[in-house]
């Protein structure tokens, strides 16, 4: 049984789905195997803030019963029914706490489900639990979580990326085959890059934001986290689609992603290298792996072209004006009145204004406060035109740059992040240095275009994962999956297997009974 469990968790979601459909294994076995894995290793990784064992097993049991019953009950099961998934703790779930990685929502139970969660439930995918993140998705290392950092399974002294380090680490550590993340400036893609997993930010509006605790409304998207490109395509097809509860959601069906991942060739496609998104400022080992991917794609019959997006030099600045501005407004609702933490001032008059002030002072971490203040400043009377207003114009310029680039290329390519995973604590004292991690991922959020990161190999100098980023025009997410799947298969052929097979084995605790809460506060 132990070995079987150890094998089970190594499969991709597609692989598990096949085994489940073929009834080689039950959904309960699959879910239990993952719950056991979480119990084994999450003490070291700290990917999970909450483990949802009871409900997950109940859903798995339902799947098994339907399959056993046969007939329409079995036929109507979704292809991924019984495949477990972890959910970033920024997405609301009935029956489990949603903390946003913050003290201000410690123990808060949402009375409603996010739309994507409703879709997971409809597909009967057991939800293993909620994963760790930088508080309110603000960060690139998950070190800003109020519940302790998550550690990179490749090297437990290093960051797993952020803000969605928990989801990426959980998938990298085989605690879950799939996870949901959110990406505002790279929070799915950058963790994907540094943990050797796949992460996708769909076109803005392709996946409903309803139930994702808002960070920057015009930049946020929920997206898939997985170990293979096909798995992300499968997941995006589950969670995507128009949502009448989200006014910014698109009506495009986005039902061609899995097919695209299976096309298997890139013949005749033009792949554009973005001059501004590699080279200077990028770690040598990252550049090397990037160049290798270019060669492989050339070998596969794609044409590599050079494009330039000169306004990308303003992207970081525009992002750090637009994002905090929207954050400052979106986080105003956390005030101790209707839900969450309420802190009373220790002395002085007991007014609601002071209770709000004390609650937010105690409940928010430093990075969150920094961004709220910055955003309040950027929107202030007298500063709007110079800051927020200008940044929105830069957005226009960047969209135009991408439009011009996509006239020359079908997809664009770059390293996902300038460096491999740095050590925990290394960039905590220098917010600006931390922000630079997102320099290659931010432009996609500003423009609303989709982006995918897949493992591109290990850097020579440190043996740590490097991510390759693909970008496509808005609504053309399918192209990412087509090119991504081809590149992935070529790279895996080169490596003799998935890159994650090269990851160090985590020490496992004594395999015992399932615990319902793992991780917890560190």
């Amino acid at each position: 049984m132990t070995e079987l469990k150890n094998e089970l968790i190594r499969h991709s979601a597609a692989g598990l789905a096949a085994k489940l459909t073929a009834r080689e294994v039950t959904a309960v076995e699959v879910t239990q195997a993952h719950l056991d894995r979480i119990a084994d290793v999450d003490g070291q990784v700290n990917a999970f803030l909450h483990v949802n064992g009871q409900e997950a097993l109940a859903v798995a049991a339902e799947v098994d019963a339907a399959r056993a019953a046969g007939g329409s009950a079995a036929d109507e099961l979704h292809a991924l029914a019984g495949v477990p998934i972890a959910v970033k703790d920024l997405i609301v779930t009935i029956g489990q706490p949603t903390t946003a990685g913050s003290k201000i929502l410690e123990g808060w139970h949402s009375p409603y489900d996010a739309t994507v969660v409703k879709k997971l439930r409809a597909a009967k995918m057991p939800i293993l639990g909620k994963t760790n993140l930088d508080e309110f998705a603000m960060g690139s290392s998950t070190e800003h979580s109020a519940y302790g950092p998550t550690r990179n399974p490749w090297d437990l002294d290093r960051i797993p990326g952020g803000s969605g380090g928990g989801s990426a680490a959980a998938v990298a550590a085989f605690e879950a085959p799939l996870a949901l993340g959110t990406d505002t400036g790279g929070s799915i893609r950058q963790p994907g890059a540094v943990t050797g997993t796949v992460g996708v930010k769909p076109t803005y509006g392709a996946v409903s934001r309803y139930g994702a605790i808002a960070m920057a409304s015009s930049l946020d998207q929920i997206g898939p986290v997985s170990r293979t490109v096909l798995d992300s395509a499968l997941l995006q097809e589950v969670i995507g689609g128009h949502d009448p509860f989200d006014s910014t959601s698109l009506t495009d069906p986005f039902n061609d992603l899995v097919a695209a991942a299976r096309v298997g060739n890139v013949a005749g496609m033009k792949i554009g290298i973005v001059k501004e998104l590699h080279g200077e400022g990028y770690q040598a080992g990252v550049e090397n792996r990037f160049n290798e991917s270019l060669e492989l794609l050339k070998d596969a019959g794609a044409e590599i072209v050079e494009v330039s997006c000169p306004n990308l030099k303003y992207a970081l600045g525009a992002y750090y004006l637009i994002m905090p501005s929207e954050v400052s407004s979106n986080l105003a609702k956390f005030d101790g009145v209707r839900f969450g933490l309420r802190v009373l001032p220790k002395d002085g008059p007991m007014t609601i204004e002071r209770v709000m002030g004390a609650t937010r002072a105690a409940g928010f971490g430093d990075e969150v406060k920094r961004r709220i203040i910055l955003g309040t400043y950027a929107l202030s009377a007298g500063y709007y035109d110079a800051y927020y207003g200008s940044a929105q114009k830069v957005r226009t310029l960047i969209q135009r740059d991408f439009d011009a680039a996509f006239a020359k290329a079908d997809v664009l390519i770059s390293p996902t992040a300038p460096t491999t995973a740095f050590k925990l604590g290394e960039k905590l004292d220098d917010p600006l240095a931390m922000y630079l991690n997102d320099v290659a991922t931010i432009p996609a959020n500003l423009a609303g275009i989709p982006g995918l990161s897949l493992p591109g190999g290990l850097a020579d100098e440190d043996g740590l994962p490097v991510g390759i980023q693909l970008l496509a025009p808005a609504r053309k997410d399918a192209r990412l999956y087509r090119v991504g799947a081809v590149l992935e298969s070529m790279l895996e052929e080169k490596w003799g297997g998935p890159m994650l097979s090269q990851a160090p084995e985590l020490k496992t605790a004594v395999l015992g009974a399932v615990s319902n809460t793992a991780g917890g506060s560190n």
Binding site: Y112, S218, S247, T248, F339, L379, A381
Partner: protein, 502 residues
């Protein structure tokens, strides 16, 4: 609470020229809220007409109510505004417990309607054009109740309770351009303007327009400047003006107060004031700052509204008869003279009369009751006639009782008073009080005999041909029957008895 000094209105007008401005908030009567599908219903149990969106829970998003947009466009058209070809929503950021997101989703520099006007007819027929700056869409806040302090006031309250049922209800805010040149008619114009807006939105069917329920709310801005000066004076904004009378009184009071301040050589403080109906005065709220930093920015969760010209024309075609035209039509239908009709309109009972006619009364009967009996009583009680507590059904019932001869007109007014005192329906009161016209001639003849016997000389006069003297006998009979005789019938019987032609 110190009382502010005021100048007399006349003195204030001698020295200063008032400039007015109004922000009227209209609550739409859509079935659901502006940005969520929770019910838009008045008065239910607290926090039962809310969902996660209305509570501003983490992760929620707004979705625009199409009917609210259409209603807003209709209001804009009725106010002769231009309708924006494209407009966006904006966030107005401020912290307050009744505002669940701690920002209000509103419109800032892109209102859906702008640059309109309304021609206001005053009581004497003078027409005044009020220019409308804009009308925009926004959402209402929840309701705060302050506990522990004096009389539900915010000062001194220990704690407050919040009900979010009202949070998210669609509002249209109508803002005027500065209104100049009203002079001493300013208070009158203020009332007439708000009444006109109220009438329009009610007529459009987009709002219940009950001021007492907060369906139409008015913030009045007042400033004074010395005669002849172009620059506006510093203004104050008065909130909590909940009725048409209050609008008139508040504007008048603020003019008087500003005048006293200016006369004393002090500058007027730019602030928000609260109107108090009980003391007929305003008190100071918090200082109004045009620099209140709301940090407006376009609402990223909502997409622009594009009002194509086709759509606007479709909506324009559905607009009902404008109130001014309706008035003309009703006057003709009812057959009132110009003066009679104007009195009816000025008294504010035109709608009530229309309702009463619909309930079964004739135009003349309706007017007789509303103008003759109710308006006077409303004045004494210091309320608007429609708020006195008389329904069209009561009038129809009263009138029928009189027409059927069950009671006479004098009794009918007594019964009306009984209805107002809460004694029940007209029929119940007639029964309870034992009012009934004595229609049986028997008792009448007895009373007549007694009265004639008591006043023999009067009887002689009548027999002699002095019919006018009959009044004394009638009076005697009425007294004896405690007013329950039909005076006309009594007179007939007396004449019969005395064998005299009347």
């Amino acid at each position: 609470m110190s009382v502010d000094a005021t100048l007399s209105f006349e003195e204030a007008m001698e020295k200063y020229d008032p400039v007015l401005g109004f922000e009227v908030h209209v609550e739409l009567n859509t079935k659901t809220k502006m940005f969520s599908s929770a019910p838009n219903v008045f008065g239910d149990e607290p926090n039962t007409n809310v969902n996660e969106v209305d509570l501003g829970m983490p992760g929620v998003l707004p979705v625009v109510n199409k009917t609210a947009v259409e209603s807003s466009i209709k209001i804009g058209l009725a106010l002769n505004c231009k309708i924006a070809e494209t407009c966006r929503f904006a966030r107005k950021n401020y912290f307050y417990p009744d505002t669940p997101k701690n920002f209000q989703t509103s419109q800032y520099d892109e209102p859906i309607a702008y640059d309109g006007y309304l021609d206001i007819e005053l009581e004497d027929g003078t027409v005044f054009r009020v220019e409308i700056e804009r009308a925009h869409m926004e959402e209402d806040a929840g309701k705060l109740t302050h506990m522990g302090g004096a009389a539900g006031r915010i000062q001194g309250a220990d704690y407050s309770l919040v009900d979010y049922n009202r949070s998210g209800v669609p509002l249209v805010e109508i803002v005027t351009k500065p209104i100049e040149g009203a002079g001493s008619r300013a208070p009158e114009l203020a009332k007439a303007y708000v009444a006109a807006v109220r009438e329009i939105v009610k007529n459009l069917g987009v709002s219940d327009a009950k001021m007492e329920r907060g369906n139409v709310r008015c913030d009045a801005n007042v400033s004074l400047r010395p005669h002849g000066r172009e620059r506006f004076g510093i203004r104050s904004e008065t909130k909590n003006v909940n009725s048409l009378r209050a609008v008139e009184h508040a504007v008048r009071y603020e003019i008087q107060r500003h005048a006293a301040v200016l006369d004393s050589g002090e500058p007027v403080i730019q602030e928000t004031r609260h109107w108090h109906e009980d003391t007929r005065s305003t008190t100071s709220g918090r200082p109004k700052s045009d620099a209140d930093d709301y940090r407006y920015f376009p609402e990223p969760d909502l997409v622009p509204v594009v009002a194509s010209r086709e759509w606007v024309e479709e909506l324009r075609a559905t607009l009902p008869e404008p109130p001014a035209e309706r008035r003309k039509r009703l006057k003709e239908a009812w057959g009132y003279s110009d003066l009679e009709f104007r009195d009816v309109v000025n008294a504010g009972v035109m709608d009530s009369i229309e309702e009463t006619i619909a309930a079964g009364a004739s135009a003349d009967v309706a007017r007789k009751w509303w103008m003759g009996e109710i308006v006077g009583r409303a004045k004494v009680a210091d309320v608007d006639p429609s708020e006195l507590g008389v329904t069209p059904q009561v009038i129809v019932e009263l009138n029928k009782l009189v027409e059927d001869g069950k009671i006479n007109n004098k009794m009918a007014t007594q019964v009306l008073d009984g209805v107002l005192a809460g004694e029940g329906t007209p029929a119940e009161i007639v029964e309870k009080r034992g009012l009934a016209v004595v229609s049986d001639d028997g008792p009448l003849l007895e009373a007549i005999d007694a009265a004639l016997a008591a006043q023999p000389d009067v009887a002689e006069k009548i027999r002699g041909g002095k019919v006018q003297a009959i009044g004394a006998i009638v009076g005697g009979v009425m007294k004896a029957t405690r007013g329950q005789a039909d005076a006309g019938r009594v007179r007939e019987l007396i004449l019969e008895k005395l064998g005299v032609e009347g």
